[in-house]
Subunit: 340 residues, 2 copies
């Protein structure tokens, strides 16, 4: 039973996965927008672009030739932020503290078709992307220096994506990134106390109220989390506890792909534009530990707020204080659900 | 003595104030940029704009008339994210956790001159802004419901600033925002153990190596913190421990103003543009406690990376993992120092 105060008055909500808060100002959605408008690209892309370094058969910046791939193609990032051959070192000099960090960064092309995005692909086609993620996760996990694998996608120029060809990235490294570390701690202490999955218990609660549920199939739920930061942030959660994408059987991986398909299609309809976002999968570290507290999930952080050209800026107060949102999670869920 | 590995290989650095990490990839600065370019506004603004709702004598959206102010002008935000008259409530329903949050939001015009920014103002003029911050901090601190006062500025359209008239904001509220809470914890535990200021001790270490120092006067130091996230992030720190801006005497407030003047002028020279940023002051909460562990500081988070039109995107990996930077803090400090 939802407290109606949450729809009318400023409040903060607790993120059970990170232990941090979000400030919600439902009354503020009415303020007029006088700030920057994003450019909308109406450009129809061709299925093949001879200048694209991700298209099949083309040459990349470092001179390597892409194969004539027909579905998914993975290669090591030519400008990787993490390298696997750098020396191990540390700085522990008073209040200056640093540690070397090694890793492997990969690029994954979702389709040879330059004109597509995940929203234009079928569930079966997206399942091939899931298979590729599983393969990469497995192979990287074996590397002794790799203890965490971050799968993500930046979609759209406004999300810093430098090439419109449908692709994502995988950055893997030896230590847990900040956000993963927070979620590891929160899930672990809950699991120790309750002997059950934090996210599993949360999901059961959500499935009872249904207020924030957008879509579900046999194995997955798509919802706007109670503590969502971005205006139309969503999360895909497996109904049964799965520590990582590796634990999905064939049917589950197809249902995962269907969930991705449904939410990305709804996003494109929302403002009638190829909807920009960053998405990412948080899952069990590959550190050789049991990680029985982990319940994997995929999140979408889209920046758009009111239209294809007006985004939410996470700036001053958000950077120095707490993330802040105007429309509530429930309002966002209602709008997205209506598009499915 | 700096470890030269820090200039060549990927590593992570520890932020002593938040307890979180930043990933540094010095070798990555070489990658070609093929992504979105920001629009550069070459527009010369007039000293007065009849359509600006912040100019002296003009009418605001809610019908109120601005006075014919001659230096600094403060008013309550017409579209405040926090309100002071909303009911107190809480949600504590299993894994749904929320709390009402009240507060007061203000807008502070730095100058009646529509064409200026802090970088175009004299130290004496900026000192008047500091005086106004002090007055607001004092008045808000008295309110029993206000326990923290966040002073900040969003400058530039790319930072979500909806009006180019020189202005900042003050959001004050009953609980500590996420970022302040982290810094409160880190400073407090250091102070308990060492009986000295975390930031004071850090500053002494920085003043010895000088590698990241950009400018200093009798009372303040401007530096690129060892753990800086944004390409040209800087921090202004008082040499003597001051818990808040309230503890500055007249001479110190002028030296604080001079530091703001020096760094904003250097920023404008860097890419020959009115440099966008979000800035903010982190200082002691107004919660009636002693807060002897607090050492106030002002930070600048500017998004530009390579030129007036190419910014650093904090997206996929940064949102799901850890903030990542390409040029090192030392390289940024050298470039900024050369512009002073
Ligand atoms: O208050 P403004 O300038 O209209 O709005 C700007 O600053 C606020 C505080 O950082 C943010 O919440 C908004 O997203 C941003 O557009
Ligand atoms: O790797 P890309 O697509 O060139 O770069 C983009 O994604 C990276 C990972 O989130 C970010 O570090 C960059 O700032 C962004 O522009």
């Amino acid at each position: 039973m939802e407290n109606t105060n949450l729809q009318h008055y400023s409040h903060k909500r607790f993120n059970i996965l990170t232990g941090e808060w979000v400030l919600v100002s439902p009354h503020r959605a009415k303020r007029p927008w006088q700030g920057q408008n994003e450019e909308i690209s109406e450009e129809q892309r061709p299925a093949y672009d001879e200048n694209c370094y991700l298209c099949a058969g083309n040459t990349r910046i470092n001179g390597e030739l892409n194969p004539k791939y027909s579905d998914v193609f993975v290669f090591t990032n030519d400008f990787a932020a993490l390298q696997n051959d750098s020396p191990k070192f540390g700085v522990n000099d008073g209040l200056f503290k640093a540690e070397s960090e090694t890793g492997i960064c990969k690029v994954i092309c979702f389709s040879p078709d330059h004109s597509k995005s995940l929203a234009d692909m079928s569930s079966k086609e997206i399942q091939k992307v899931v298979f590729a993620w599983q393969k990469e996760y497995t192979e990287l996990a074996i590397e002794p220096t790799i203890n965490y694998v971050q799968i993500f996608e930046n979609k759209g120029a406004v999300m810093g994506c430098s090439n419109p060809h449908p692709h994502g990235q995988i950055w893997s490294q030896s230590t847990l990134p900040n956000e993963v570390d927070k979620k590891n701690t929160q899930q672990s202490s809950y699991y120790k106390e309750k002997k059950s999955s934090l996210l599993g218990d949360y999901l059961n609660q959500e499935l009872k109220t249904k207020e924030r549920i957008i879509f579900e199939n046999n194995d997955f739920v798509v919802l706007v989390p109670f503590w969502a930061i971005w205006p139309f942030e969503t999360m895909i959660v497996p109904k049964k506890q799965r520590k990582s994408i590796l634990e999905l059987n064939i049917q589950e991986s197809l249902n995962f792909a269907e969930s991705i398909s449904v939410i990305t299609k709804a996003y494109d309809k929302l403002f009638n534009t190829s909807f920009p976002y960053s998405s990412g999968i948080h899952q069990a570290p590959t550190n050789g530990l049991n990680n029985s507290h982990w319940h994997f999930h995929m999140s979408f952080y889209p920046p758009l707020l009111r239209s294809a050209s007006v985004k939410k800026f996470m700036v001053g107060y958000e950077m120095f204080g707490t993330p802040q949102r105007d429309i509530t999670a429930e309002q966002a869920a209602t709008r997205l659900r209506d598009l499915i």
